[in-house]
Each structure stands twice: as C-alpha cells, then as structure tokens.
C-alpha cells in the first residue's frame, strides 16, 4: 500500500476558487490538477461512443480510443451512469465499450474542435489547454509525512493524500488516484461551475 491522492468530486471547485497550486518542477506553469481532471473526465464522464465524434473531429489525430488494459484499473472499473435524472448508478461494463479516449498532448493544437463536436459536453476547452501539464503525484519529491502542494494549497478541502483502500463510494480511477463519488442524488460534481 502506498499513499494515494483522494479527490472529493462533490467538493471540487473551479481552480481559480480552490487556489490549487502545483509544484511540478520541470515546468513552472504546470497545472497538474487540470491534467488529472482531464483523465478523470475521460474515465468517468465520457460516454465512450462507438463512433466518437470527437475522434473524428480532431484535425491532428490527437484523440484516440485506447482499449483498457485487461485486468487493469480501467477494465475493472464500472462506468458511473449519467442516465436519466442523473441518479448515480453503476452500469456493468459489458454494456459499454471500454475503450477510453486518450489525448496525445504533443499532437493537440488546442483548436477546440473536439469540445464543439462532443454531443454530451464531456470535453470543454479549459480541460484541454494547449500547454500540456502532467501530474507525477510528487513521487520521490516528498519528505516522509509531507503532502503534495496541491493538497496543502487547496482551499475547498476536496483533496487529500492518505494511505487508503478504495471501497464503497470511492473508485481508484488511475493508479494511486482515488476519486470519492457523491452518495446519491443528482450527479453534480461536473456540472457548471464545478
């Protein structure tokens, strides 16, 4: 067991409000949290169209559908339903294509074609900014007991860094990144101004 970054989607506010900072050393303007949100949106929110308009719209071929690794985290993961009334539910993955959208940020020109083409509003332009960002979870750069800068600088309390097991109400979306899902009711975390 290692330390995991825990993201509480229900508490997540836009970056300007939450004041999340990033200490990624290779790029001073790096927005590590934004790059995580992109991956989480593609994993949880994307409806995984069989014939994806976003992939067809991209003029640079920067978007592709990547089959989830057999037995990997994404293969095991159940899709969060964004169905009628937005009631949170889990849909067996057999009903869905498990291919996940992946953006090659070295090919992406930030033209925003995919954001306009997506019929469900999964992608928006702030999510896929042209300067690429990366999150390495500060691995190898933290003192024992120290938390990453995003966790300590986040004012809305949506981030935590702990040694936890993923259980009910949480999903390990990416390696060492756990997303806390809201209990019930409307699926609000990704709604406007969130």
């Amino acid at each position: 067991m290692g330390m995991k970054l825990i993201i509480d989607l229900a508490k997540c506010k836009p970056q300007e409000e939450s004041g999340v900072q990033c200490s990624y050393k290779h790029h001073p303007l790096n927005k590590g949290f934004d790059s995580l949100m992109e991956l989480i949106r593609f994993a949880l929110i994307c409806r995984r169209c069989e014939v994806a308009p976003c992939v067809n719209a991209c003029p640079q071929g920067a978007l592709e559908k990547v089959p989830s690794e057999k037995g990997g985290l994404m293969d095991k993961m159940l899709l969060v339903s964004t169905g009628p009334r937005g009631v949170l539910g889990k849909v067996p993955k057999d009903n869905f294509h498990t291919d996940i959208i992946k953006r090659a940020n070295m090919l992406c020109t930030g033209c925003g074609s995919c954001a306009i083409a997506c019929p469900f509003g999964t992608i928006y332009t702030d999510l896929i900014q042209f300067p690429s960002s990366e999150c390495d979870l500060c691995k190898g750069r933290l003192e024992p007991g120290e938390k990453p800068l995003c966790v300590t600088s986040c004012e809305d309390g949506s981030l935590d860094y702990q040694d936890v097991h993923a259980d009910d109400g949480t999903e390990e979306v990416l390696e060492d990144i756990v997303v806390k899902l809201p209990g019930s009711g409307l699926w609000e975390p990704f709604l406007k101004n969130k």
Partner: protein, 178 residues
C-alpha cells in the same frame, strides 16, 4: 520584381491566410513559437462580437508550424513570396475577423461560427448527434431570414434547450438533468 533566383516550390516565404477555408480556431496562434507574430483576441464589445487574429510577418521566422498544424489544412500557408520588405513596419500587420458563436443558454463563448460550420461538414452524418452543429449550419444557410437559434434563456434547463446552440458545460448539464 526581379528575383535573384527562381523560388523553389516548397520555399517557406510569407505566410498567407486563405480566408475561404480559415475558420479562426486559433490553432496557428497556439503553435506559433514567435512572441508577437500570431496573436488572437476576442472582442465581445464589437457588433457582432468577433475574434481577431493578427499576424505581423516582420516577426515571422518562417518555421511553418502554422501551416503544418492548421485545423483545416489550407487556412494558412507559407507562400513563395520571399521579399516581404516594406517601408512602413505597420504594413506588416494584418488582422482578420471571425464572428463568434456564444452559448444560447448561458452566453459562454463556444468558438467561431465558421468553426462550427466546418465541423458540421467534416463530421458528415455524425453531425446529426449534435444539434448545435445543425443549427449553426442552418443559421448560415438562412442568413437573410430570421435566425433559427434563440437568445440566451438564462433560466433553468428546459427541454427546448435541446434545440439551442450550447456550450459543452450546458450540453452536459442538459443531458444529465433532463
């Protein structure tokens, strides 16, 4: 003008916009490595609101990034003009305007109108998954008559929002809540 030698076909000279095919997406501005060469500004005060893409070729280093990464492939290309010298530096500045499209529910900027229409044409049958593209194209076809699109509703989500041009966040909210 007498040139010192014949210009090779692939010579990277002064970049020229093809205003027929350029949609004003801003990809060239993003990939341009030279500060001040290509820049983009959205003017919300103008009527109608426009995006201005400004190119000043005195700063251009003829790298060809804009041509290689152009969304429509032919929107900007490096011409064979190899002697772009001018007497007045201001003459090297050219500005192009593109009409902006806003979300008909919240008023958020979506992109340029030409970009939506270009996507409609590029996606073919897939465009029918996305009413925003259909309405944008329809508005273009019926420019003279009344616009099919509606003014920002500002109210809570309603079924009629499906037939509006929407920004991604409104589209998402509509799909979740209705």
């Amino acid at each position: 003008m007498r040139l010192p030698s014949e210009v090779p076909e692939k010579y990277r000279g002064k970049p020229e916009f093809d205003l027929e095919t350029c949609v004003g997406c801003g990809a060239c501005v993003n990939v341009c490595p030279t500060p001040g060469c290509l820049s983009m500004e959205d003017d919300f005060e103008a009527t109608p609101p426009v995006r201005r893409i400004t190119h000043r070729y005195d700063a251009c280093i003829s790298c060809g990034n804009c041509e290689a990464n152009c969304t429509t492939e032919t929107g900007i290309s490096l011409s064979n003009e190899l002697d772009p010298a001018v007497l007045n530096r201001e003459d090297t500045i050219e500005t192009h305007e593109y009409e902006l499209q806003f979300c008909e529910k919240c008023g958020e900027l979506i992109g340029t109108k030409k970009h939506l229409i270009w996507l409609y044409e590029k996606l073919g049958a897939l465009a029918y998954t996305n009413p925003s593209l259909l309405i944008a194209k329809s508005n273009e076809l019926h420019k003279e008559s009344q616009e099919v699109g509606q003014q920002p509703s500002g109210r809570d989500v309603q079924t009629s929002d499906f037939m509006r041009i929407l920004c991604p966040k409104c589209k998402y909210e509509l799909n979740i809540r209705l």
